[in-house]
């Protein structure tokens, strides 16, 4: 006898699928801005999975911890995208290109 998938389990599988889509964007796009879109989707998948794990928890204390983890992951992800886009803007100002294939040189 098979059991139907709970809504929370759908969230879990959705989070894993979103992680793969995000990696697709990070790996297959040449544009740095396009890669940042993938990066944003990646933190969204982490937040989705953390909230799903929070919903799994029966213990209120553990649920609060998982919820706090989701909030921190979301805020840190948003900030890292902001820093990343600032780096891209600086690079475009210097090199005039957003091509990730050319961004191989680490300058001090």
């Amino acid at each position: 006898m098979t059991r139907g998938i709970d809504a929370v389990e759908w969230l879990f599988f959705g989070g894993m699928a979103l992680l793969w889509i995000a990696l697709l964007g990070l790996v297959l796009r040449r544009s740095l801005v396009g890669m940042l879109v993938g990066l944003g989707l990646a933190w969204a998948s982490v937040s989705l999975l953390a909230i799903a794990f929070a919903l799994f928890e029966a213990e209120p204390v553990l649920a609060v911890r998982a919820g706090g983890l989701a909030l921190v992951a979301a805020i840190v992800g948003c900030l890292q995208v902001a820093v990343g886009i600032a780096l891209v803007v600086a690079r475009v100002g210097r090199r005039g290109s957003i091509d990730a294939e050319e961004a191989r040189l680490l300058e001090g």
């Binding site: 969204a44 799994f56 029966a58 886009i85």
Partner: protein, 180 residues
């Protein structure tokens, strides 16, 4: 009834895929991402995410606004005009993604077959669906997690953090003059 939750999740994943694959134009990618985040937030709300789901959507909107705002500062960002990757590079990366997808599927399938997810949901389901995460929905409980006995101050501390971040952004605005 979870049919619409599944529908919202599928729509959100499809919109995210569109944003990644057809994202040559930044505005379209941001629009598709906004649709994806809205649908995922709706699914989270339907599953009982409560305040966390709202925070997820709010932070996602801030991220998209930052991306669009800074994207407007780039030259030619509407069309990145970059040629595609060489077929060898594409082939190797597609192979890597395929392996990763297979690993995710195996992981999810193993969890599903072992019943780990079912046990977790069954344990969480002892609470009524609408009252799941009751404590996590309470900002004071999350404040208590981060700042202990001063958890009641979570809201003012959050506002102070937001004001500090805004002030830092305003100060960073003029940092370009030092580079010259």
């Amino acid at each position: 009834m979870t049919g619409w939750i599944e529908g919202a999740l599928c729509f959100g994943l499809l919109a995210a895929l569109v944003a990644v694959v057809q994202g040559q134009v930044l505005s379209r990618a941001v629009l598709a991402c906004a649709a994806a985040m809205s649908a995922l937030g709706l699914a989270l709300l339907g599953a009982g995410g409560g305040v966390l789901a709202l925070c997820f959507v709010l932070v996602a909107l801030v991220w998209l606004a930052v991306l669009q705002l800074f994207g407007w500062m780039l030259v030619d960002v509407d069309h990145d005009h970059l040629p595609g990757l060489s077929w060898r590079t594409t082939g190797v990366r597609v192979a890597a993604l395929t392996i990763f997808a297979a690993a995710l599927v195996v992981l999810a399938r193993t969890l599903w077959r072992r019943g780990e997810l079912a046990r977790a949901v069954a344990a969480g389901g002892e609470l009524a669906p609408t009252s799941r995460l009751r404590e996590a929905l309470d900002p004071a409980a999350i404040g208590g997690l981060f700042i202990g006995v001063h958890g009641d101050l979570a809201l003012p501390v959050g506002l102070l953090l937001a004001a500090g971040l805004l002030a830092a952004l305003c100060l960073l605005r003029d940092s370009g003059s030092e580079a010259g």
